[in-house]
């Protein structure tokens, strides 16, 4: 998962929320539980202290001294240093009888009242202290007078219980709570991860769809996408369509411009040839320059219109077939034979018109120079399996006179013609070069095995 991605954003926010909320929730639950347990423990202590008070102070009506509790209440009061203690101490007068539980032995419980702890609503005073073994104790104290009558001698009745038992209980709970919450947290993070992956699955689908368009196996973004990104899908498709429409329109306009300019040029040239004053020659010469410029810039315009168009793939075989047919007809006087060897699955990653333009010019040149035969070979070398690196290797070779090395290096540079006797604008090869370059391809001239010129064209395959 990359840092700068939708998945990371979604995951990070969800995980952060989980990690923030779970500890807070755990803390609150822990607090509530501890308070609850404490309250219940305190309730038990309060019950004990009240029972002992009633037992020792109330039942002894008329007695001058408090009586030991008739009930044991808690067996651990009998066990020395068990943590459970009670203690009845005279306050006024201090000479009264002092009673303690056997568990207390020689130890004396401190009095919360003596430590100026304020009583709560029920008149009980609470204190946490240490016991005889240094163990934490919870102490509750009630002050009552003998027979519950005001004015009679007053006693402090103290009951203590082991706070560490309670602490142990709470700690145990905390451990289990933490474990449960940690597991829940891990589960939530895992679910978030899955949710992000699953939720963003349609984006992967779009990615695959766009790749298909780029490689030309699809012309629109297909598939049943979720409602949220369906507008994106239709917008993208509209964009692809309008892009295509703009290119087609530009081509049409360029074609119209060509038509509009070339017919008057033909008229002027023909008219000027009949002129014998010298002006005619000048006009013919200038008209030729105009014609070259028109051709060159129209081709540039066509190329510019194509830049940025995505997803066009042209099967090569049909293009080659109709081109070979047309060219054999055009050159039927010479009886040229075009031998085509085209891989059946060869596909060009680009516009059909551009492929036609490149192959047409190369084949036409070859036909003009060939004696009898022109060889056209189209291969798809299997050097790499990665789709975007596949190439087409096209070779056009003729059995004509060929070119010297010096001529080969000179030709194609400015579309110059080496032999003015053969008809043609001379722009053919330079157009092929420019087109091939605009597709990231190459065009090289070499000596053909059959003696003539061989042109090697390397283009991206679809």
């Amino acid at each position: 998962m990359r840092f700068h991605s939708l998945a990371f954003r979604l995951f990070a926010t969800a995980a952060a929320w989980t990690l923030l909320v779970l500890p807070i929730a755990g803390f609150i639950i822990y607090q509530l539980y501890r308070d609850d347990v404490q309250a219940s423990f305190d309730g038990q202590l309060l019950k004990l202290v009240n029972a002992i008070t009633v037992d020792s102070m109330g039942s002894a009506a008329g007695e001058a001294q408090p009586l030991p509790p008739s009930n044991l209440y808690e067996p651990l009061f009998e066990v020395t240093h068990s943590g459970w203690y009670w203690q009845i101490t005279p306050l006024q007068p201090a000479t009264g009888r002092k009673l303690v539980s056997p568990s207390l032995a020689t130890w004396t419980l401190p009095s919360p009242e003596a430590k100026s702890v304020a009583p709560d609503a029920s008149g009980a005073r609470w204190l946490n202290t240490k016991g005889p073994k240094g163990e934490p104790l919870r102490i509750v104290e009630v002050i009552d007078s003998l027979g519950h009558e005001p004015g009679k001698p007053r006693y402090s009745i103290v009951v203590a219980g082991p706070q560490d038992w309670l602490d142990h209980l709470v700690a145990n709970f905390r451990y289990r709570l933490t474990t449960a919450l940690a597991l829940a947290g891990l589960g939530l993070v895992a679910v978030t991860l899955f949710q992000v992956r699953f939720g963003l699955l349609p984006l992967r689908q779009i990615e695959r769809g766009l790749a298909a368009i780029r490689s030309g196996t699809a012309t629109t973004l297909d598939g049943d996408l979720p409602a949220e990104i369906e507008p994106l899908q239709s917008e993208l498709n509209a964009l692809i369509r309008s892009n295509q429409a703009i290119v087609d329109r530009a081509r049409t306009q360029v074609g119209n411009l060509a038509h509009a300019l070339k017919t008057p040029l033909a008229v002027i040239t023909n008219e000027a040839r009949a002129d014998k004053t010298g002006l005619g020659d000048k006009v013919v010469e200038q008209a030729e320059i105009m014609k070259q410029s028109v051709t060159r810039y129209l081709d540039r315009a066509r190329m510019a219109a194509r830049v940025g168009v995505i997803g066009r793939v042209t099967p090569v075989a049909p293009v080659v077939e109709s081109l070979a047919r047309a060219l054999q007809r055009i050159h039927q006087d010479k009886g040229i034979i075009i031998n085509v060897d085209c891989a059946a699955d060869a596909r060009f990653s680009g516009e059909k018109q551009d492929l036609e333009e490149m192959l047409g010019n190369l084949l036409d040149n070859a036909c003009k120079w060939a004696r009898r035969e022109v060889e056209l070979t189209i291969e798809t070398p299997t050097t790499t399996s990665r789709a975007r690196n596949r190439r087409l290797a096209i070779t056009v070779a003729d059995d004509g006179p060929g070119l010297s090395e010096e001529q080969r290096s000179r030709i194609g540079k400015r579309g110059l013609r080496l032999d003015e006797t053969k008809p043609g604008s001379g722009l053919g090869l330079s157009i092929v070069l420019e087109l091939a370059r605009s597709y990231g391809g190459t065009c090289e001239l070499a000596q053909a095995p059959q003696g003539g010129l061989a042109v090697h064209l390397n283009l991206p395959a679809g």
Binding site: H259, T263, A266, E271, K291, A326, R329, I330
Partner: protein, 223 residues
């Protein structure tokens, strides 16, 4: 030889008609697609020069319809649209050649000659028949090496017969192929021109086949 020029640009049309006329062809011209289609569909042209971008009906459709109704005359497409996709479309529609504007009139004429020759089954630019020799490039006829001076009508007649030598050519066929559409056609004029030709070349070269027409004989003298 009758030529049809279908071109909507008036100046270019005029230039083509003039150049082809000078080269010895009987030329009809049309300025829009419908007219061009109709003429090509009804008149027996020896060759058609067809523009692609035409008003009312485009050149490709015209050509396809002609070929569908089995009109086989050679057609040269003349257009400013010179991309190979356009050329292939034109050739696939049934064109025999393709000339891109702007063009050299001489080149167009050469292609017209080549197509006419090929259509009548001649491989070379010079057609020989007995003592006669027709150089289609220069539109000259020689007889035993001596140049024969011919008027344009005489040349048309002789050139047509030489293109179709060895077979009988009827008077109607001659009239249809030698004169423009709006020419006052009178088959008697053919007889007049045959008579004049027989005075300029050995008389027995042009053989009259009674009731059928004329034939250019490879080996005269024997009759």
């Amino acid at each position: 030889m009758r030529v049809l020029v279908v071109e909507d640009d008036k100046d270019l049309n005029r230039q083509l008609v003039a150049a082809l006329g000078d080269a010895g062809y009987a030329v009809d011209s049309a300025f829009d697609g419908e007219e061009g289609y109709f003429l090509g569909d009804t008149e027996p042209y020896d060759i058609v020069i067809l523009d692609i971008g035409l008003p009312k009906m485009d050149g490709i459709s015209i050509l396809e319809q002609w070929r569908r109704s089995d009109r086989k005359m050679p057609v040269i497409i003349l257009t400013a649209r010179d991309r190979w996709s356009d050329k292939v479309a034109g050739m696939d529609a049934g064109a025999d050649d393709y000339v891109a504007k702007p063009f050299h009139m001489e080149e167009l004429l050469a292609r017209v000659r080549a197509q006419v020759r090929r259509a009548s089954g001649h491989a070379k630019s010079e057609i020989e028949c007995g003592p006669l020799r027709l150089d289609t490039k220069t539109a000259r006829v020689t007889c035993n090496g001596q140049q024969v001076k011919l008027t344009s009508h005489e040349y048309r007649l002789l050139a047509y017969l030489m293109h179709h030598n060895g077979r009988v050519v009827s008077r109607t066929e001659l009239v249809e192929h030698l004169y423009e559409q709006d020419f006052d056609r009178d088959s008697n004029t053919i007889e007049v021109f045959i008579g004049r030709l027989r005075k300029k070349i050995p008389a027995d070269v042009i053989e009259t086949v009674r009731g059928l027409g004329y034939r250019l004989s490879e080996t005269p003298a024997e009759a």
